[in-house]
Amino acid sequence: MNPTVDFPTTRTISENLIVEPADIVLHGTNRQQQLLVTFISANAESLDVTHRCQIAIAGPSVASVTGSTLSARMDGSTHALVSFGKLEVKVPLRVENCEVYPPIHFASDIVPVLSKLGCNSGGCHGRVQGQNGFKLSVFGYDPQADYDAIVKESRGRRIFLSSPSDSLLVQKATANVAHGGGRRLKEDSTEFELLHRWIEQGLPRGSESAPRLIGLNVSPTERVLAAGDKQQILATAIFSDGIQRDVSHASNYASNATTVAEVTQSGLVRCGELSGDAAITINYMGQVAVVQIHRPRATLGQAYPTLPVNNRIDELVGAKLAKMGLLPSESASDTMFLRRLFLDVIGTLPTSDEVREFLADLDPYKRVRWIERVLERPEYADYWALKWADILLVDKEKLGDRGAFEFHRWLREQFERNRPYHEWVREVLTATGNSGRNGPVNFYRAADTPDALARTVSQAFLGVRIECAQCHHHPFDRWSQSDFYGLAGFFQGLERKPLALDRTLLVHSGYQPMVIPLSNAPVATRPLGVETAPDLTRTDPRVVLADWLTSNDNPWFARSFANRLWKQLLGRGLVEPEDDMRLTNPATNDPLMAFLAQQAIDANFDQKVLLRLILNSRVYQTSSVPNDNNQDDDQNFSHYYVKRLPAEVLLDAISSSTGVPETFPGQPLGTRALQLWDNRLPSYFLEIFGRPPRNSPCECGRSSEPTMAQALHISNAPEVESKIGDDAGRIAKWLSTISSDVSQRLKPDTEMSLVNEICLVTLGRLPRSTERNVAQALFATSNSRQAAEDFMWTMLNSYDFLFIQ
């Protein structure tokens, strides 16, 4: 971690210098080997010295060294001498069968080159329509087609057998011939040599029985680094015959947080100035692995303090904060906590009476009690039904009035009864019958093909985005087309019979085999990551899927559930995006993720138990105001991350603050935006503040991005102004209850109690001195009614109103 190292003074064969691999074997198919050299400092920290140590070969005729990469020269045995300061390690080195260049296998040798050079990427020849007449399968998922494209298409003009280097394929890649993609290949590279040899060997496809790639190992898997630190990654491919091949330079690398750590395409990570966590994804031929990089803040200059703990969540978050050198913000004030609690859990502002009552409550456990109170409010079901209606595509345009109404009503009922999550999900997964009577049947109208259902079910309930694998191997995950269509198979054979009044009768007529489109290859129906296909002939296959999906052993179900709840309350998922769970997108706090998932299972998926646990933590009750130490942190919950009120919540908040309910066409008087089942109800307000279109099983459809139209609307719209100034609204009513003449300035006490009231209903707190001064200035200028309205306007437009803090 510390870049300046105290060199040991005695010359030893040291246990403090570790060279990987410990035993180097170079052979025909592994002609090069990247070394990874790690120094273990006196305080047991690991430091990568790969690019700072000396590497020599005892017998230079056997192998040579360039940088930290060894290359075979001739068969024989010797050793590599690696020294760093006074430390030295001797690593045995053997070269076998290197005279014979082994037969090249197109799929395992040439396709990786096309991936590494970017030829088959989605922006180039991997595009659906190819690029300039040359089309490769994206990320090389179809080597057969790629072979034909290179060797046979365009009358074979891409290859020149008798002079490999003059082949158009090589000439374009080296940009000796004009190439839109520029120069991708250097003449002195191993990739060039491979391509050249392959053409020279007569373009072999390679043997059917050639060893298959079965795994990818990386080292290290996790490392703590400081600003400017570098870390080499060693990537090793494992083949079915046990052969290992160094693919450190043949893999593709990507960082999910480039401001924290960048990575080069030869696997060298470099940490930047920002602290935080980064996951480095390594992809070699559809095999993926991840290296987690933690970059703490520079040392605190003091011992890490003991943080107060309410429950296990605080211990787990605290451990990560300590690791990252982050100090949490102070505890949220009572009013900050109360407004946050109401808005996060029930999408509703506390009333002025509720704020006063809370402030007057002297019970040290009042937050615990009020959490219970809020969880029992009727708005709870409204808000969570809205949230799940977004995810489960409850779109009136697609489902019709009755379908959308019925599905929404059913969802609301699940939350009203606090039905365990796995139970209601099972009911959705196995729904049959009349869409006008059984709400969840409409799920099969919103997602109306096996493909759409595979995508939606895996993303909504497992947090696994498998849709990439519909067309090609998932670039950052293990999923292939057979996984995708294996899952889709559970929904094959569903029948949707149209009924009168825009309803559908849904029945499953039993298992039907599935094939992958285009190739027509049959594919076994099986859950994600399960190799053996279950027996589906006895029942509706969806029952088998539901058993697997909702079981306690499912690797994603509980985590996805817990992660969604965490995100709703804390503003950022432990895995983010919250529905993109994969090896290469690790949780920023995996022990906490695992703990919450286990809690969900132990609580039998009772949502309120989990919410209660999180709400009672210190972490949830931390202030949103950052300190100097933690203001850059957006991953580890050192402070509460502010968020804008969602569209419906904001509209309701304006209505409740002004005391003038919104009227929605065709809805009963007093209906709140939170309760709307009709997501297409014309509403300029909801439209511009980001009501989602509900066409993707993703919370990302709900936009909280600010726009100019929003700012104009809230500050200038007649609709908002008329609420503020309504004769039956809060201000007019309040003024009518006092005896004084409102054309005169109010008595100071009266005036201040009106100002207090406006602050309480909008911001959930009493005014600060700035707000009092502003209010007094307004009241000094205009009559009471107008001044109060101006103050209400100011509050509604303030950050403290628009954001949950």
Partner: protein
């Protein structure tokens, strides 16, 4: 006077700052820095940005009855409009376009547009984004307010330089199907006027103060808000969201207070002769409004004009209702831009979701025809006074130089200074080119 409000500034000073963007100097510099960072394309900042007026003819514009006459075809194909000469020797239009015929030297006719989808919704999408919506996950033929790929206007809002106080992407008189930002998010959505500038009551939503709020009162409110929010500046760093809302508030505030910006929307400031020249029709006045908006720095104005789905009484509808406003509006727009020296820096596009069938049907109408149709491009430094591509004798299929919607998109973006190969990522992380993988039409550039 209210000392705690205006930072000691009198009202006039306040407005003067307002016209600078309503920002403090530091904020202004921050904003300009951001824009400089965000600006893509040409490195020569001196070159004037090209803005776009994008006229979308909704329903499907009969190419053979306007832009691609086939006088030698049998009568059930050629229709009833005879060809007329234009100011460009060798280019003929139909008799429906007498005014455009006088400015044909200022425009290019692309006669070989082609895509395969006869569906309106898919047609809007492919012609407004360059990308066919396909049968991808988000696609739903009844979906009207969302799309699979960002519209060209949204792409310009995202990637284009924008230093005006107007929104970068404005849509009049209505929101256009498939004109949305898709995954680029709400900040790239069009600012929709939702009012017809031809109407005497025309007003733009939310930019004028609501009834009962005088400008003095509004100033008091704005000052109060600044004072209250100033407290938050201390913690502004806590959220990028707060910061960007801050920017939008300042821009909105500027729009409300800046006379110049607000005047852009006041079509009544044009003299009667100018308004008449464009035609007192929705399309005509939208064209005039669009000119005012690009003049004030809006980067992309889209105009929607409906009712062109002429399955019945095609010729009558075109002659009596639909084409005259376009003929007048478009020709006036090109002349006006030219005389103001704005034609080089304004790209005008007239496009549609598809053409119409060669053969006139039993109801004297023409049906959907996506295999071959025409669109218009003018200004923006493009070559003009030419046609590109040809169709066969029945205007039924492209026989030379097919142009795809992606090529159209790539052309528009590159004229506006955006590399059409710029890659953006969909929510699942798939990289896609903003221009849909098309190539700019080299004959025009």
């Amino acid at each position: 006077m209210l000392p705690s409000f205006c930072d000691g500034m009198d009202r006039r000073g306040f407005l003067r700052v307002g016209s600078l963007g309503g920002l403090s100097m530091a904020e202004l510099m921050r904003l300009q820095h951001l824009q400089a960072v965000e600006a893509t394309g040409s490195s020569s900042a001196k070159k004037k940005d090209v803005n776009c007026i994008f006229i979308f003819i909704i329903g499907g514009m009969a190419h053979q009855d306007l832009w691609d006459p086939k006088p030698d075809a049998p009568s059930e194909i050629r229709g009833e409009f005879s060809p007329i000469k234009t100011v460009v020797p060798g280019i003929q239009l139909t008799s429906l376009l007498p005014n455009v015929a006088q400015v044909t030297d200022k425009l290019a006719i692309l006669r070989s547009m082609t895509h395969g989808d006869p569906d309106h919704t898919a047609g809007y999408h492919v012609m407004m984004t360059g990308v066919h919506p396909g049968t991808g996950p988000a696609f739903n033929r009844t979906t009207t307010n969302n799309n699979v790929h960002p519209s060209l206007g949204s792409t310009v809002a995202k990637l284009g330089r924008n230093d005006s106080s107007l929104p970068p992407y404005i849509s009049i008189p209505n929101f256009l199907n498939s004109g949305g930002p898709s995954f680029l998010g709400a900040s790239c959505a069009p600012f929709v006027i939702e009012a017809d500038p031809a109407s005497p009551e025309f007003a733009v939503r939310d930019i004028v103060l609501p009834e009962g709020v005088t400008s003095d009162r509004s100033l008091r409110r704005q000052s109060a808000l600044r004072a209250v929010n100033a407290f938050e500046r201390r913690v502004e760093a806590m959220s990028k969201q707060v910061q960007s809302l801050d920017t939008f508030y300042e821009k909105a505030y500027n729009l409300m207070t800046s006379q110049a910006a607000k005047e852009a929307f006041e079509i009544g400031r044009e003299d009667e002769a100018t308004r008449e020249a464009y035609g007192m029709t929705s399309l005509g006045q939208c064209c005039l409004m669009a000119r005012r908006l690009v003049e004030s720095g809006c980067r992309f104005v889209s105009i929607e004009n409906g009712h062109w789905d002429t399955h019945r009484k095609n010729a009558m509808s075109l002659r009596d209702l639909l084409v005259p406003p376009l003929d007048l509006g478009l020709s006036a727009l090109l002349r006006d831009l030219d005389s103001r020296g704005m034609l080089e820096s304004t790209l005008v596009v007239v496009t549609t979701e598809f053409g119409r069938t060669p053969r006139i049907n039993a109801m004297a109408g023409r049906d959907h025809w996506p295999a071959a149709f025409s669109i218009i491009m003018a200004g923006g430094g493009l070559k003009s006074g030419l046609t590109i591509g040809t169709t066969d004798k029945q205007a039924a299929s492209v026989i030379d130089r097919p142009i795809t919607p992606a090529d159209m998109a790539a052309t528009i973006l590159s004229v506006l200074g955006i590399d059409p190969q710029t890659v953006v990522h969909t929510p699942v992380g798939r990289p896609v080119q903003v221009g849909g993988g098309g190539r700019p039409i080299s004959e025009l550039i």
